[in-house]
C-alpha cells in the first residue's frame, strides 16, 4: 500500500520541511519526474539554496527562468528582492527607492505590513502560473522549493496575515484570489519532506498541523527522504555475532543495522501521525548529481499519479 502524490493535474506544488532534509533534491526530482511525463515544469527556489546545483544549472538562479534540461525551467525569488521591486514599481524612481530600501527604518515600514514580501513572492508565482504564449500555458506545473519550515509558514500564511490587515485595494483582491487557489486541492499540493530523524519528524508533524489544520492547505502524503536501505536481516544479525567483531566490514554492518533500526522507529512515528509516507532511499553517492536526482525522480514517478 503506497501513498500517492497528486501531481497530474495540480498546477502548483510547494515542497517544504526542516532545513537539511533534502528539499532541493526532492524539488529537482519532482520537476524531472513531471517533465518526463510530458508536463512543462518551472522549478522555483524561494531564497538562496541548492536547487540550481540539484538541477545542474551552473549559474545562480534568478527571476528570469532559465532552461534546466528537457521540459524544465528554473528560477529563484527572494522575498526582500520582491519587496524592493514592488517599492520601485510604486515609486517609479529607482534611485530614491534604493536609498529608501537601504535605510534601516524601512524595516519599520515593512513590519507595519507583515506578509507583504511573502505576498509579493506568491504574486510572482501566480504570474508564472498565468503566463501564456501563443494561446497556451508557458508552465503546466510550478514546483516551489520553499524555505525551511519556520520560514515557509510566513510564506504560505501570507494570504491570512496580510489579508487580515489589507481589506481594500489591489493587494486585497489579489490576496483573496491567491488564498483561494492555495487552498484548492485540485490546484495546489503541499509536500512535506522529512528524514527519518527525531527532530525532523517532529518538526514535520508540527508543520503539517499548522499548514493543514490552521491554514487549511492541501497537504499531500509526507515524503520520507534519505531512508537507509535494509541491508541485513535478523538472521544476518545473529550471524554477525559469530564473526570477527573488529573486522571493519562487521563494524560497518553493525553501524548500518543500528542506523536502519533507528530510521525505522522514526518512520513509524511519522506514519502514526501523518499516514504512510512516500519513501526515498538514502544515497551514499552524491544525491545532488544528475544520477542521484534521476534515482529519486524514478521513485517519485512511481509513487505519483503522473503515469496514470
Amino acid at each position: 500500500v503506497s501513498a500517492r502524490l497528486p501531481l497530474r493535474t495540480q498546477r502548483l506544488v510547494v515542497v517544504t520541511g526542516k532545513g537539511g532534509v533534502g528539499k532541493s533534491a526532492v524539488t529537482a526530482a519532482l520537476a524531472r519526474a513531471a517533465a518526463a511525463a510530458g508536463r512543462r515544469v518551472l522549478a522555483v527556489e524561494v531564497g538562496r539554496g541548492r536547487l540550481g546545483a540539484a538541477l545542474g544549472v551552473p549559474t545562480p538562479l534568478g527571476l528570469q527562468p532559465v532552461a534546466a534540461g528537457s521540459g524544465v525551467q528554473a528560477a529563484a525569488i527572494e522575498p526582500d528582492e520582491a519587496l524592493g521591486e514592488f517599492v520601485e514599481r510604486v515609486l517609479r524612481l529607482r534611485m530614491l527607492a534604493r536609498r529608501l530600501l537601504e535605510s534601516t527604518s524601512f524595516q519599520v515600514v515593512a513590519a507595519a505590513a507583515p506578509g507583504l514580501p511573502e505576498f509579493l513572492v506568491l504574486q510572482t508565482l501566480q504570474t508564472w502560473l498565468d503566463a501564456r504564449r501563443l494561446g497556451r500555458r508557458v508552465h503546466d506545473l510550478v514546483v516551489v522549493d520553499a524555505p525551511a519550515s519556520g520560514h515557509s509558514l510566513p510564506l504560505l500564511a501570507a494570504p491570512q496575515t496580510l489579508g487580515a490587515l489589507a481589506r481594500v485595494g489591489p493587494v486585497a483582491e489579489s490576496l483573496a484570489r491567491i488564498g483561494e487557489r492555495l487552498a484548492d486541492a485540485a490546484h495546489t499540493a503541499v509536500l512535506l519532506v522529512t528524514t527519518p530523524e527525531e527532530l525532523a519528524v517532529r518538526e514535520t508533524i508540527e508543520l503539517h498541523d499548522e499548514l493543514s489544520a490552521r491554514l487549511g492547505l492541501p497537504c499531500a502524503p509526507p515524503i520520507l527522504n534519505a531512508m537507509p536501505a535494509r541491508r541485513f536481516g535478523a538472521a544476518d544479525a545473529a550471524a554477525l555475532d559469530r564473526l570477527d567483531a573488529h573486522h571493519p566490514h562487521v563494524l560497518a554492518a553493525r553501524f548500518l543495522l543500528a542506523r536502519r533500526r533507528e530510521a525505522m522507529a522514526q518512520a513509524a512515528a511519522l506514519k502514526r501521525a501523518l499516514g504512510t509516507p512516500v519513501t526515498l532511499p538514502f544515497l551514499y553517492d552524491e544525491p545532488e548529481s544528475a544520477a542521484g536526482i534521476g534515482t529519486l525522480a524514478d521513485v517519485l514517478a512511481t509513487a505519483s499519479d503522473l503515469a496514470a
Binding site: S105, V109, V171, H247, A253, A258
Partner: protein
C-alpha cells in the same frame, strides 16, 4: 587553540552553526566535560530533541537552570532552556521607567510585529539572556547552543542592527524625511517619503502613517536605555571572555552554510576559534587512507558480499564527507577541533554525551577528577 584550552578559563563559549547539525548535543557534551574539569557550568539551549531534553531534565521553559546529574564530579553542570520569544518583552519591561510606558510599547501592533519579525531579534534575545546570566556571575562558564541563524550572523550581529534601528537618526527619517536625502531639500524628501507611504497604503489598504507614528512615540522613551544595553551585550561577545566555535556536519549544504557563516562572522568582527565536525564517519576505518581489510573469514559468500557492499557504501560516504570539510576549514581559517562520528541513533542520554565527550576530548580521563583544575 585546543578545545580543552577553550573551556579552561573563558566565561562564554558560543556554539554556532546551521540547524540540525547537533549543536545542542555538542554544547551539552562540552559543558559536561568542563564540569568534569571542575568548572561551574551552565549549558543554555534553544530547542533540544526530546530524548536529550529528558536526559538533561529540561522539562519546562521556565527560565530556571536545572542540575544535570553527572554523579560525583569536581564541578557542576546546570542546563537551561533559552526562551527566545519571551525575553524581548521582559527587556522592555525591565528598561521602561513606568509600567505604563512598558504597556504602551508592548501593546503597539508594530512593536509586536517587529519584536517577532525584525530579522535577528529572537536570536538577539538569546544572546541578551547570556549577557544577563554572565552578569549574575553564578557560573564560571556559559556554554551556549545558539539558535540556528536564518541569515548567517543574525544572532550575533543583531545587537548592531537593533542599535542601528533604534538609533534616533534612523528613526529621524520617518519623523523628518528630509534626512533621507541629506541636502537635497526637505520638500522633495518629504514628497518622496510620503509618496512611498501613500503608495504602500494604497496598495495594501493599511493605515501605515498613523501606525508608524504611534510606534515611534511609544518606543522613543526606551531608546537610550536599549542602546546602552545592546552596546554592553555586543561588547561581551567581542571581548576576550567569549569564544566562538562553529559546529558543522560534512554535508554539502551545511558546509556551504557554515562557510558563509564564517565569512559573515569575520565581517562583523567576531573571530572563529575552531570548527567541530559532527556526524563524520571515522577516517581511520573508512577514510581514503584506510587499508582495505579484505573479506570477513567464516562468513557465507552471500553474507560476505553484502558485508563488503555495506563497507564500500560507507567508504563512498566518507570520501564525500572529506571533500566537503577541507574547503570549509580553509574559509574559516580556524583549526579543526574535533570530529565526532556519525552515531547510529540520535544521542539521547547522559551516557551518549559521555561518548561524544570522548571524541571531543580524546585525552581526558572521563568521570574521574584526573583532569581537575587543568588550566583553570
Amino acid at each position: 587553540m585546543t578545545l580543552p584550552e577553550l573551556i579552561a578559563d573563558r566565561r562564554v563559549l558560543l556554539c554556532v552553526g546551521s540547524g540540525g547539525v547537533g549543536k545542542t548535543t555538542t554544547a551539552a557534551a562540552i559543558a559536561a566535560a568542563a564540569a568534569r574539569r571542575g568548572r561551574v557550568v551552565a549549558v543554555l539551549t534553544v530547542d533540544p530533541a526530546q530524548r536529550l531534553k529528558d536526559a538533561l531534565d529540561l522539562r519546562a521553559l521556565d527560565g530556571k537552570p536545572r542540575r544535570v546529574p553527572l554523579g560525583r564530579i569536581p564541578g557542576r553542570l546546570d542546563a537551561m532552556l533559552l526562551d527566545v520569544k519571551r525575553t524581548f518583552d521582559e527587556l522592555v519591561r525591565g528598561l521602561a521607567t513606568t509600567p505604563e510606558q512598558a504597556r504602551v510599547v508592548l501593546e503597539n501592533r508594530l512593536y509586536q510585529n517587529l519584536s517577532s519579525t525584525l530579522a535577528g531579534t529572537a536570536e538577539y534575545m538569546a544572546v541578551e539572556t547570556v549577557y544577563r546570566l554572565a552578569e549574575e556571575g553564578e557560573w564560571d562558564l556559559l556554554v551556549v547552543d545558539t539558535p540556528p541563524a536564518r541569515h548567517a550572523v543574525d544572532f550575533l550581529d543583531a545587537p548592531r542592527r537593533l542599535l542601528a534601528l533604534l538609533d534616533s537618526r534612523a528613526f529621524a527619517i520617518l519623523k523628518d524625511p528630509s534626512t533621507i536625502l541629506g541636502g537635497a531639500g526637505s520638500r522633495l524628501a518629504q514628497w518622496v517619503l510620503s509618496g512611498v507611504i501613500r503608495g504602500l497604503e494604497r496598495f495594501t489598504g493599511i493605515g501605515l502613517v498613523g501606525e508608524i507614528a504611534d510606534f515611534i512615540r511609544a518606543i522613543e522613551g526606551l531608546t537610550e536605555a536599549l542602546r546602552a544595553r545592546v552596546a554592553a551585550v555586543g561588547g561581551l561577545l567581542r571581548s576576550d571572555a567569549s569564544r566562538l566555535v562553529l559546529v558543522t556536519a560534512p554535508e554539502p549544504r551545511i558546509a556551504a552554510e557554515t562557510a558563509e557563516l564564517a565569512t559573515a562572522l569575520d565581517g562583523v568582527g567576531l573571530a572563529v576559534h575552531g570548527v567541530i565536525v559532527n556526524r563524520a564517519l571515522p577516517r581511520t576505518l573508512y577514510g581514503p587512507g584506510a587499508p582495505d581489510p579484505g573479506p570477513v573469514g567464516a562468513a557465507s559468500p552471500a553474507l560476505a558480499a553484502r558485508l563488503a557492499r555495506g563497507f564500500a557504501d560507507l567508504r563512498t560516504l566518507a570520501a564525500r564527507q572529506a571533500a566537503v570539510v577541507a574547503p570549509l576549514l580553509a574559509t574559516a581559517r580556524a583549526p579543526l577541533l574535533a570530529e565526532v562520528p556519525l552515531l547510529a541513533s540520535a544521542p539521547g542520554s547522559l551516557d551518549d554525551l559521555t561518548v561524544i565527550g570522548r571524541h571531543l576530548f580524546p585525552d581526558e580521563i572521563v568521570g574521574g577528577s584526573a583532569a581537575r583544575g587543568r588550566g583553570v
